[in-house]
């Protein structure tokens, strides 16, 4: 079965939802000026980010990811972006990361934080805690990347991508979670 790679899909969908605010009518028989308003009205908070992009300052926040193979990758993200946004926007190659696209249905964007950083992170919801219960390699400083948003005070933080079962499988059976 040929399926589009998860990363590409996430990327395209996040873009699509932002785009759909203005370009909803391309193939739309209901095309009128008011369509845009309506869609805006019902889209509500349908982006990955915790805050509307307009509220962000241009001051980027530097984040380092330690990948499953121990490699450290340092990237920049905008305040308000979730760590899942950052992984997608920066095209970081983390297999299976964010499978449910930030909809709190899985725990594949599980990340491990340094203790002092963990304490600074925003509040954790019940739904996130429930999903963390199902995360592989859970630690006391684990959070889901889709629920943690960048702020200036997190500048320079390092997060670790926990090892995953599918990593092991991939080396044994070939790719299971995406192919492109």
């Amino acid at each position: 079965m040929s399926v589009v790679s998860a990363t590409y899909r996430l990327h395209s969908i996040s873009k699509r939802f932002i785009r759909s605010l203005s370009a909803v009518s391309a193939h739309n028989s209901l095309k009128t000026p008011s369509t845009r308003h309506r869609v805006e009205a019902c889209i509500r908070n349908r982006q990955f980010s915790c805050y509307p992009r307009a509220l962000r300052s241009e001051n980027k926040v530097t984040v380092s990811f330690i990948n499953r193979d121990g490699e450290k990758v340092t990237v920049k993200g905008s305040p308000g972006d979730s760590l899942l946004d950052v992984v997608i926007d920066q095209d970081l190659d983390i297999d299976g990361f964010g499978a449910c696209e930030g909809t709190l249905a899985c725990s594949t964007c599980h990340l491990i934080f340094e203790e002092d950083v963990y304490k600074q992170l925003g509040p954790i919801t019940d739904e996130e805690m429930d999903m963390l219960d199902l995360a592989y390699g859970l630690s006391d400083t684990s959070r889901l990347g889709c629920q943690v948003c960048l702020t200036k005070s997190l500048e320079g933080m390092t997060v670790r991508v926990p090892e995953s079962v599918s990593d092991m499988r991939q080396s044994d059976f070939g790719t299971t979670s995406s192919s492109s």
């Binding site: 079965m1 209901l30 499978a99 449910c100 709190l104 859970l138 299971t176 995406s178």
Partner: protein, 539 residues
């Protein structure tokens, strides 16, 4: 060489499963016979030789991976007798428990030509679900597909597979999966809850004692149908009125027909097509009820579409929710919208209503637990404040109540997966394309994961602090991951808001008319008899 790779794979994955096999099997046995859990181990389901804790050498080099041939399980004949002669279909959840005790936490069964590998182990289920790809397949949905082909209909989230499924899922999850997206439906749902409370008062008023609501599941069916329709169709249907509108009545009849034909038509997917001329009724009923379900959705979708068109023609601004958005963006075709509205409605009514009925029953049976939850509600909201979704985090026992109800009565007692790649689970090589049955009913009642497993303890789900985590793959009533229940957050909202208000307003008591109610499987895990409860005003 391939085998070597698999062995290495097995070794690498063992740390997650560790030595729980022995312990938890014994506890599962202890579920039926409580004293057994105290006795020394006599049965051991060794996935691996030795003491169950594999060493690298034992697993990596010496242990051959077993095949399906080696896997224990009931014989085909005994399965036929169990299911067709002894009506095992209504006891699937019990058979699941019995078989896992008898054959171990992974076993195989045959249903006609269909081989099913059942997994009744929390850690093995976790391994399977964590290994999923981007488009997991649940089960063979051939009969659903066949109906849709025959009528020229599209598939929806339940019946679609592969890229078709993924496309629809990607659109729909962005609309109704995120808790904060669903929270905006709070006011709409509360409108329905207000009608539910009024309906409770009206129904109990019709009884001699002025307190009893007979067969509370019927009431919750109507509540769930009204609730999901507000979200899916952006429209009230009048299911909680004295006189239910005709169209809604027809739909209810179609749903009932669908579920009454479940046993014959769903499982009779095992009945080969060539037998249909001889036994035509199941397939006819199946098609007939789908006709009813699709018709209902189509009427409501079409109505919304013409409303939008009329508003646009009049130059008005069009505002709306889920359906409006789908119709406007055309991310899905009109046929796909019909199909998804149909399947989401079907999936969102009985599931919610059975869970609410069980919750009510459990509260009535456990007045002390109910009192504890009542006190939490009143402490948080006072006697009158209508709860909204933002209040739910302050009501951990309400969340615990729903989780505990679904643990004891998982509405889907088992879920299916068809393996997409070769997997090694529990020491067995399971080839790609194998139908798995994940036995949630058994794992939910595992004493190892849930001490006092047969007891109703909503408190067990309340966390002491955010780092208080449990490995809860034992109870995953909505599933896990990319193919988990898309209606989960909607269902939770409907149940949290309804239960909070019912507990706030009424003391729920068992009616003398109620016999002990056991679960039976009828497609879903349903109450085996009517649940009649009394609603006594708190004030």
């Amino acid at each position: 060489m391939a085998l070597l790779k698999q062995m290495r794979h097995l070794y690498l994955r063992r740390p997650s499963g560790k030595a729980e096999n022995r312990h938890s099997l014994l506890c599962a046995l202890g579920f039926h016979k409580h004293s057994a859990s105290q006795s020394p181990p006599t049965v051991e389901e060794n996935v691996l030789p030795g003491n169950g804790i594999p060493s690298a050498a034992a697993v990596g080099q010496d242990t051959p991976v077993k095949t399906l041939k080696d896997m224990p399980g009931p014989s085909t004949v005994s399965n036929i007798i169990e299911f067709f002669y002894r009506d095992g279909f209504s006891r699937i959840h019990e058979i699941q428990l019995q078989h896992s005790q008898k054959y171990g936490r992974i076993f195989k069964s045959r249903f006609g030509p269909q081989l099913v590998v059942s997994i009744a182990d929390r850690d093995m289920i976790a391994e399977v679900l964590r290994a999923e790809g981007v488009a997991p397949q649940r089960a063979n949905m051939e009969s659903w597909q066949e109906y849709r082909d025959k009528r020229g209909r599209a598939t929806g989230l339940i019946s679609a597979e592969g890229e078709d499924w993924l496309k629809m899922r990607s659109v729909l999850r962005q609309l109704i999966m995120r808790p904060r997206d669903v929270a905006v439906f709070s006011d709409d749902i509360n409108g329905v809850v207000a009608d539910l409370v009024a309906r409770v008062r009206a129904l109990r008023g019709q009884q001699p004692d002025g307190l009893t609501v007979l067969n509370v599941n019927d009431l919750f069916f109507n509540y769930a149908m009204e609730g999901i329709s507000v979200i899916l169709y952006e429209r009230r249907l009048g299911c909680l009125e004295e006189q239910i509108p005709r169209l809604s009545q027809e739909y209810i009849a179609a749903v009932h027909l669908m579920f009454s034909s479940f046993k014959t038509s769903m499982y009779a997917g095992a009945i080969p097509k060539w037998l249909r001329p001889l036994i035509p009724k199941p397939w006819r009923d199946f098609c007939h009820s789908w006709d009813g379900l699709f018709k209902f959705s189509q009427v409501h979708v079409d109505r919304k579409l013409s409303e939008i068109q009329a508003q646009l023609a009049a130059g008005q601004e069009v505002k709306g929710g889920l359906l409006t958005y789908l119709l406007a963006t055309k991310d899905l075709t009109l046929e796909e919208i019909y199909a998804n509205m149909t399947e989401m409605l079907l999936a969102g009514v009985d599931t919610t209503s059975f869970t609410l009925a069980w919750s009510t029953y459990l509260l009535a049976l456990h007045p002390q637990v109910q009192q504890q939850i009542y006190e939490e509600v009143v402490r948080t909201l006072g006697p009158d404040k209508v709860p909204v979704s933002e209040d739910i985090p302050s009501l951990p026992l309400i969340r615990g109540l729903v989780k505990e109800t679904l643990r004891l009565f998982p509405v889907l007692p088992g879920n299916g997966r068809i393996t997409q790649t070769d997997l090694v689970v529990g020491g067995y090589l399971i080839p790609a394309g194998t139908q798995l049955a994940l036995c949630h009913y058994s794992t939910s009642l595992d004493e190892d994961t849930f001490p006092g497993a047969t007891q109703f303890q909503p408190q067990r789900w309340v966390r002491r602090d955010p780092t208080d985590h449990v490995d809860n793959f034992g109870s995953i009533p909505f599933g896990y991951g990319i193919r988990s229940c898309i209606g989960r957050r909607v269902a939770e909202l409907e149940m949290h808001l309804a239960l909070t208000q019912l507990i706030q307003k009424f003391r729920i008591q068992v009616s003398p008319l109620t016999q002990e109610v056991h679960a039976k499987t009828h497609g879903l895990l349903t109450p085996g008899g009517p649940i009649n409860v009394q609603f006594v005003d708190r004030q």
